[in-house]
Structures are given as C-alpha cells and as structure tokens.
Symmetry: C2
Subunit: 342 residues, 2 copies
C-alpha cells in the first residue's frame, strides 16, 4: 500500500513526493525500497504488487524497477485501505487463486529484517494451512497514543504456532491513561497494519462482511490484466465506500489471530518517532544531511541533498529543509505541523 | 566599490553572490541597485563607475544595465580600498580631468534618500570650489564598536557650508567603553566610508602620500579606455600595496573635512544591523521571504525566493536560507558565523 500523502512530514514530505518515496532515514534507500528489501527471499519480485495513486506510478516504477509495471495498481482516488486491499487481492486471485498474501504499508520502519522475515514466514505457514487472518501485533514499549491496539487471548494459542493467539478485540487509538493500562497488561499489542492471509480467506471475508464491495470487484475481474482494466477500475472506484480494512473486516471477522512480533517496528508517523529510528549523537540529535551542529541538543534535523546546514544553539527542535522549503518547530509542538502548511 | 565578499551573511551571501548583489531588505532592489538609485538626479548613468572583481562583472551589468559596460572596472584581485579608488579616479581623470567624485561602498543602506541627496549636493558644492577632501560622518545613535569614528573640530567650521567641519583625527573601531565616551561627546561621528573630492584633489593626495601607487596608475593611463587596459591593469594590480584609503590618504592628509550627516545610515555589516534596517513586526521579528511565524520573537528570518518557510517557537535567532543552504544561529552568537561555513 503506497498511496499515502504523508502530510505530517512537511516539508520533507509533500503531496507530490510523500514519505514512502523518501530516504527519511538517510540510508540511501527510500521507505518503499526498504519495505521491498524486507521481503527479499520471501517473495519473488514478480509476485510483489503495489497499490498507489496514479500520480505516483512513475515514482514507484523508478524506485522499484524490479517489479513488473503491470503489478503497480493505480487508484484513481483515495478510498482508505479496504478498497485498496480488495482490489489487489481480487487482482492476485485472477493470477493465482491459491496465493498466500502479506499486506503491508510501504512507509513503516523495521530494523531487524532477519527477525521480520522469520515472523512473516511463521505467519504464512499458518495461513497456508488454515482459513485464518493473521495480524501482526508489536509488543508495546511505551504508552503510545498514536497507534491502535490489539487485545489478544493469550490462553488461546494456536496449536500450530506458539506466537499466534486469537484476537479478543481491536482497540482504537487510546488516550494516555488507557494506553498506560494497555501497556501494563501483557496481552495488548500495537496494530502494525500488516496482515497475512490466503487469497481465498480475503475474498471470503469481503463476501461475508463487505458484500457490495466484493460484488464490484467480482464484476471487475474479467477486465483484470487487459487494456480495459484501468478504465473499468476508474469507473467504479469513486463509488466504493472509503473504509479501513480494520472496520470493514478485522473487527467483524471470527477466525482472526495476532502474531506476537518481537521486532522493533515504527510507523514513523511523527518527527518524534522518526528521531527514534535514526541513530542519535551523544547530544541526543538525529541528523540526516550535511549538517554542522554547535551547542545543539535533542533535535531532529533533516535536510535533503548535500547542501550545507549550520545549526547553533537549539534544544528540542525539528529542523527540516527541502528544496528551499523550511520548517523549524519545537518537537513538543509537532502535532500542529499539518496546520502549518495548509 | 562593489568587490566585497560578504562572508558574514552566509548563506544569504556567498563568495559567488555577495551581499551587494542581494535584495537583503526584501524591497525588490539589491543593495548595489539601491546605491545606484540614491544617486538618481545627482549623477547621470554614464558618469557612474563601478569597481569590482572580474567574477562579478556580469552581475553588475545585469543589475545595473543603465551603466555603460566600459564603466565597470575589474580588479584581478582584492587590494583593499586605496588601489580601488586610485584606479577609478585615474580612469575618470582620463575622461574628465575636472570631475567631482563621490566614492561610496555599494552595500550600505540609507533610508532617507532625499536627505542623502541634499547632503551629497552640499559636499560636492564644497569640493567643486576647494581642494578639500570631505568624508561623510554620521551622528552616532549608540556606542557601536563595529564602526570607525571621525573626531571633528566643531569650532572650525567651513565658512561656505555650516555642516562641514575640519577633521581632528580618524579613530579605529573602539572597544565598548571608548565607544561610549565617543557617543557622549558631540564631535565624534561614524565614518561611513563615503568620500567626496575632485579628481585633482585625489590625484594630488595619492601623489603626495602614496607616490609609488600614483606612479603606477600614471603609467597605466595611456592604456585606459583601450583594448589593452585590462591586460596592463592585471599586470600591475597584484603588486599594489593592499591598504585602505583611510590609512593611505585620510589619516595623512591635511585639507580634510567631515560633513555632519543626519540621515540614518548603516553598513549592514551584521545580521543584527540588518535586522534594524527591516521593519520589525510587533513581536520584534524582521522577516524577508514567504515566512509564517508562530510564537516567535526577536528573530531575523531571511529566506530567498518565494518558497514557504514556517518557524515556530524561536526567540532571538537568525534563520537564513538560500538555495537549500541553511543557517540557524542565536543573534548573540553572530560574530561566529564566518567560522561556521569555512
């Protein structure tokens, strides 16, 4: 899934060039490239599919030239995650009705790739043999209010896989007090938005819980892979209900499980969380770019390109520069960034 | 005089594009253009001469297309102000041995242009009739340690012009204590580096006080205005003594006067002094560029072009952005800027 607009990371991320297409960590690879890399050895390139906006087709193709261009599916408009997932799953069903599918956002960060691969393999082994939906749950390390949570029934572990438990409930983003209660228990996990299921399970779930959406994609199936695909997709897409897969399917489905993942994961949804993903210097600064610091502490400084940047005397700020656009903002005020560049 | 490098204003000003060629005040005109504009009505364009580095010839021509390109004199290397002034004055002597000359830096700011013109007219009326050198002295408004001072003998006023007094001495940049003493008296003025004198007076002064330099320019005179001028200037220039006109002439000359100017003047030599030249908002911020401020006070924010800049939560800082180069620095630390971009 690579259709997001990343407006919380202005000016690094813009509508024209959102976060997933940016080397936010300064590693030389963009987030979507790092996501692709994480599946190396798990999934051959020709089985990787990307759903994105039409405006980003060229960008995806440029950044992931390994993927067949026909595997880049184009949404004519944003309709949240359920239509996006239905589209790609029906499309894959057309190609291989026995496929086992991992759904993942393209703009998250996982540092331990080896552990990630092992986890995905375990999930896929499980969904290959059962009609289950598996969601990846991350053990919380702090009372984060920016994530949804999954409540697991730890007494009900799968007999096949020790890390997989039945889901009791999905919980929306909590307030701080509730988040503290979740973290204090051992059966609450962050919902990473990564789902593993067989194509048959997806299609059945949509047929049961989103019958109208299922019918529409069923009707589109004859055009998949033909020259008429885009035209027919464009004709129906705006009429699809904009709904998240969590509401549309996960919260309603019965055979739903959580994989207790222990790798370090972040949706890097804020500058503060990005700061945690970049090695900090001994003064607590996370720096991407050609930056010289003087008397500066606890800042995240992200400057595109190799142009020289000098920062003197700041403590606890975000400094982000791209193409002459610049934002300086206290880290404590980062929730206001979306409003700053309207 | 337009050969300076403006290194204290990085990244706004760079060796490639120093301060005099920049619209530092955000008025739509660069400092050299504003300097040219100040002489409108005083001096026709064909009588305006610019001495600059070879590297800046195209820039001067582009910014001042009114001036004949042959009036842009090119120094092959920087040799301080005395050689620069000798060159242009000998060059003008060749064209008009009875010329009356105003020497001015190209990167200073004067806000009351009308009063400036009246002052220059009064100086020129005086030097047209006498063999005097007149320097412009600005009544100090604060104990500035960044300027040289002129001590005047107020009892010895010219009989022709009530604002012109004999100079007692030139004083180098003082420390704060001495600057306070100067300001407390009424006969100390800031040395604005603007000189008015006839071409004959200049040439005589160089012949008396800098005979070697005078001989060299005398020897160059046959080539002035010919195709061989640059070649011969290039051959001697590096061998000229790099010395300021203050040391070379002013401090030695006898018939030297100061015009007590009452217009507001600044050499805008620091970000702090530039901040004073730009209208401040009610929170004490001086802003050039497309800048949105939130909870920001007492800052100077200078961003080239029309790219959007957002600053939240700063007090007492310089923020300067140009072509992706960025500097953030406390105003109190601005003396260190030269070191920041080595």
């Amino acid at each position: 899934m690579a259709g997001g607009a990343g407006s919380r990371f202005w000016p690094m991320s813009t509508e024209d060039n959102p976060k997933q297409f940016i080397d936010v960590l300064g590693t030389g690879r963009t987030l979507i490239q790092m996501t692709y890399d994480r599946f190396g050895g798990l999934c051959p390139a020709e089985n990787v599919w990307v759903v994105t906006s039409k405006a980003y087709q060229a960008k995806v193709h440029e950044q992931l030239p390994e993927i067949p261009i026909g595997n880049i599916l184009l949404e004519p408009c944003r309709r949240n995650t359920a239509p996006c997932i239905a589209y790609v799953c029906w499309r894959i069903k057309n190609a291989n009705p026995r496929a086992n599918i991992v759904i993942t956002p393209s703009d998250h960060v996982v540092r331990d790739v080896k552990l990630f691969k092992r986890s995905i393999r375990e999930c896929m082994a499980f969904t290959a043999e059962t009609d289950s939906i598996v969601t990846l749950g991350i053990r919380p390390t702090r009372p984060e209010t920016g994530y949804g949570y999954i409540e697991a029934d730890l007494s009900f572990s799968s007999s096949r896989e020790k890390n997989i438990f039945r889901v009791d409930s999905f919980r929306e983003k909590p307030d701080l007090e509730l988040a503290r209660q979740y973290v204090a228990k051992n059966n609450y996990f962050w919902n990473a938005g990564i789902f593993v299921w067989s194509v048959q399970t997806v299609v059945n779930a949509f047929r049961v819980y989103q019958p109208e959406m299922a019918r529409k994609f069923e009707a589109l199936s004859p055009y998949f892979g033909t020259d008429a695909e885009q035209e027919h997709v464009d004709a129906v897409y705006a009429g699809l209900e904009p709904i998240s897969v969590d509401y549309a399917i996960m919260e309603k489905a019965e055979e739903i499980f959580v994989y207790q993942a222990s790798f370090d994961w972040s949706d890097v949804g804020t500058w503060g969380s990005l700061k945690k993903q970049i090695p900090n210097d001994s003064y607590g600064n996370a720096v991407v770019g050609n930056v010289d610091l003087y008397e500066t502490n606890n800042c995240i400084i992200h400057c595109a390109g190799n142009k020289k940047v000098v920062v003197q005397g700041l403590d606890g700020y975000i400094v982000a520069e791209k193409d002459g656009r610049l934002m300086i903002c206290k880290l404590s005020e980062e929730q206001r960034i979306k409003l700053f560049h309207k």
